[in-house]
């Protein structure tokens, strides 16, 4: 028998979090979660609670923390509006497979279903966007629910989990003892790897003349970067990344051929439709990656490595599916693949790179126009951080420019809202990202639109003294939407022009050193000053108003119809 202690449910919540190794949590208090906050006050030496300025900010901060640290992010909120404000972040974590545990307070159990003050059915609301959720109405069920939540959130394909705890359960006493969860009988986090499939895949790889790899976040989530690199180097296969796979392989690696998808690089998009073997690793063939599925890699055999069996054949028919944990499957296949070089095939990618450089990249990095480009800002950040910052991007043109032009040396350095495309993600996520990787330079790249969705989190930066570097690329437009209006709606700029406040004053109001750059000659100096600054720093860069992101695969087009202008 384990020794138990008589404590109340709210204390059991905090003790359970501590037992899971949680030392930081993000949240916002309110009536139905006050007993838990009272215990957080008592345990503040062991568990740092970060008060965000909005519950959405708490979820994004928890996501940012999870993405850089590899640990589970934790967010807390009260019932009703507190709980509903979590929803965007939960949906974002679900689609991007981010491990997160959300704890919400709920009205007392005798009031459930009475439309009590601040009662919302957060279990029903969050069901389609959580990996698992549960309502706890009895104090004695709290430790078990939290143990199960952490196990589910981080095992297999990670995801968000929500625990809704009624106020009476927080206040009632229980005999507390904590036991970590190591299995749930109905749940199989990692499917068994069939070694025959590994061998079949290796046979295809060894025979391929023009193989191509597309890697996704599965490499990072499986902590398989070493195994992946060894596999790539032994097979000599050109490797392209999805937006969430970015940073799993250093940008300057000889076999890294860039990004696939809507604003991906020219070569990997074009050559997806010319390779003879497509090897997908921990990615899910999202529509932004594939474009028109009926014209996607039809000539190629497809191998799909994934931990989630439901991803196999979901969008693209697979010839060989290798199920399992990427760390394990990549280590296994390494034994069966032959060392190879694909020099002339790799050269085809580089030839497309040259075209892209001439038509697109050169104009971004060595502009002849007067207006500043987003690309040159990213280039300046690469320089100031020695290609080794954590880049947290928001959603829009600046996001695509950030992932296209930022260079990465280490894994877990690219934090962005990939699947949901949540504007407002970056500022709060950067706070969590910095807390999850305190020794690293964390630079948030945000548009003037998205910045104003969550800029109240400047208050969180002020209060916690988190040294994030905030870069707003101001084009005075909701740029990505404006780009589509220009290209597909005859320049009818419906509600995309922005009259903005004085962002520098806004940052200064929060005691954050701030600067605005309008001229090219001031840019690198300001970036260097920002990176050298020991505290948080805000940099606004006025960029070309009507610049566009290219290459572009228009919606519904084939990846090989990627446009350069």
């Amino acid at each position: 028998m384990k020794k138990t202690e008589r404590i109340i449910g709210a204390e059991a919540v905090v003790r359970s979090l501590l037992a899971e190794g949680v030392d930081i949590a993000y949240g916002y208090p309110g009536g139905a979660i006050m007993p838990i906050y009272d215990e957080l006050f008592k345990y503040q030496d062991q568990l740092h609670h970060v008060l965000t300025r909005h519950e959405q900010g708490a979820t994004h901060a928890a996501q940012g923390y999870a993405r850089t640290s590899g640990k589970v992010g934790v967010a807390l909120a009260t019932s009703g509006p507190g709980a509903t404000n979590l929803i965007t972040g939960i949906a974002d974590a679900q689609i991007d497979s981010t491990p997160m545990v959300c704890i919400t307070g709920q009205v007392a159990s005798h009031l459930l279903g009475t439309d009590a003050f601040q009662e919302t059915d957060v279990i029903s609301i969050s069901s389609p966007i959580t990996k698992w959720n549960v309502q706890v109405t009895k104090a004695e069920d709290i430790p078990g629910a939290i143990a199960k939540a952490f196990y589910i959130a981080k095992s297999g394909r990670p995801g968000p989990v929500l625990i809704d705890i009624t106020k009476d359960a927080q206040l009632a006493e229980l005999d507390y003892a904590y036991e970590k969860c190591t299995h749930v009988r109905s749940y199989k986090p990692v499917p068994e790897t069939n070694i025959e499939k590994v061998k079949e895949a290796a046979t295809l790889i060894n025979a391929a003349k023009k193989p191509m790899i597309i890697f996704g976040q599965g490499v990072i989530l499986g902590a398989a970067e070493q195994e992946f690199k060894a596999f790539v180097e032994k097979t000599g296969i050109p490797s392209a990344w999805t937006i969430l796979g970015l940073s799993a392989l250093p940008t300057n690696h000889a076999l890294n051929v860039g990004m696939v998808g809507m604003h991906g690089n020219y070569g990997p998009n074009k050559l997806t439709n010319e390779c003879d073997l497509l090897i997908a690793i921990g990615m899910r063939f999202d529509d932004r990656v594939t474009g028109d599925l009926s014209k996607y890699a039809k000539q190629a055999k497809v191998i799909h490595f994934d931990i989630d069996p439901s991803e196999i054949d979901k969008n693209v028919k697979t010839d060989v599916a290798v199920l399992g944990d990427s760390k394990d499957t990549l280590a296994k296949i390494l034994e069966f693949v032959q060392p190879k070089e694909h020099t002339s095939w790799l050269h085809e990618f580089r030839a497309f790179d040259n075209i892209e450089f001439e038509k697109v990249i050169d104009g971004q990095l060595n502009p002849t126009k007067e207006g500043l480009t987003m690309g040159e800002v990213l280039q300046g950040i690469n320089k100031a951080t020695d290609n080794d910052a954590v880049i947290v991007s928001d959603v829009g043109q600046h996001q695509m420019m950030a992932v296209r032009y930022a260079n990465f040396t280490h894994t877990r350095s690219n934090v962005t809202s990939g699947g949901l495309g949540t504007m407002g993600f970056a500022l709060p996520a950067s706070i969590g990202a910095k807390m999850g990787a305190p020794e690293r330079d964390v630079v948030a790249i945000i548009g003037d639109g998205g910045y104003q969705m969550t800029c109240q989190e400047l208050g969180t930066i002020l209060q916690t003294g988190t040294a994030v570097k905030i870069v707003v690329l101001n084009n005075e437009f909701l740029g990505m939407v404006r780009q589509w209006q220009q290209l597909f709606f005859d320049k009818r700029y419906a509600s995309t022009e922005m009259i903005n406040p004085d962002f520098v004053k806004l940052a200064e109001a929060y005691s954050i050193p701030a600067k605005k750059v309008v001229k090219r000659e001031d840019l690198q100096g300001a970036i260097d000053e920002m990176i050298a600054c020991k505290t948080s720093y805000f940099l606004e860069v006025m960029v070309e108003k009507e610049d566009n992101v290219f290459p572009m695969v228009p919606t519904g087009a084939s990846v090989s119809d990627v446009r350069l202008s």
């Binding site: 029903s124 389609p128 990996k131 698992w132 109905s186 199989k188 989630d308 069996p309 439901s310 054949d313």
Partner: protein, 174 residues
Amino acid sequence: MEKKLYTISVYSENNLGLLNRISTIFVKRHINIESLTVSASEIENVSRFVVVVNMTEEAVKKIIGQLEKQVEVIQAYYHTDDEIIFTETAMFKFKSDLLFENPQIQNIIKEHSMNIVTVNRTFFIVEKAGRRHEIDAIYDAFAPFGIAQFVRSGRVAISKEAMNIRKILGEIVQ
């Protein structure tokens, strides 16, 4: 690929919120559920959902993947009609007078070997378990006389092949 009737059987933990999770998997993809039943299964604390859908095999396979992805789903299967034994139950209520005024009603009851559930002065209720087309035929036969109430259950089905849930639970446990 052609659409067909598929009977999906889902074994799951007996959990309150799961019905919601399972139904949204169908609703999100605009899949019409022809019928849905939830009941206990042969294993204690394990529920069984039987869902009938009309779709292509390719689509039903993807649905099975999504169902099995749910943490509390133990296993999901799909079957065509010839791979299962299945039935539905229907109940019909009539005014008692009809029984005496229309002897044909008694003939229909006999012809289809229906059970008489209850009879009293004001109404009587008959019941029949069978396939959809049999119940439809009975309905059509009764309709001219005026049916006071009609209800039909969802399909319940048992597969011809074994569904080794106990074994799966055992395998997952160790």
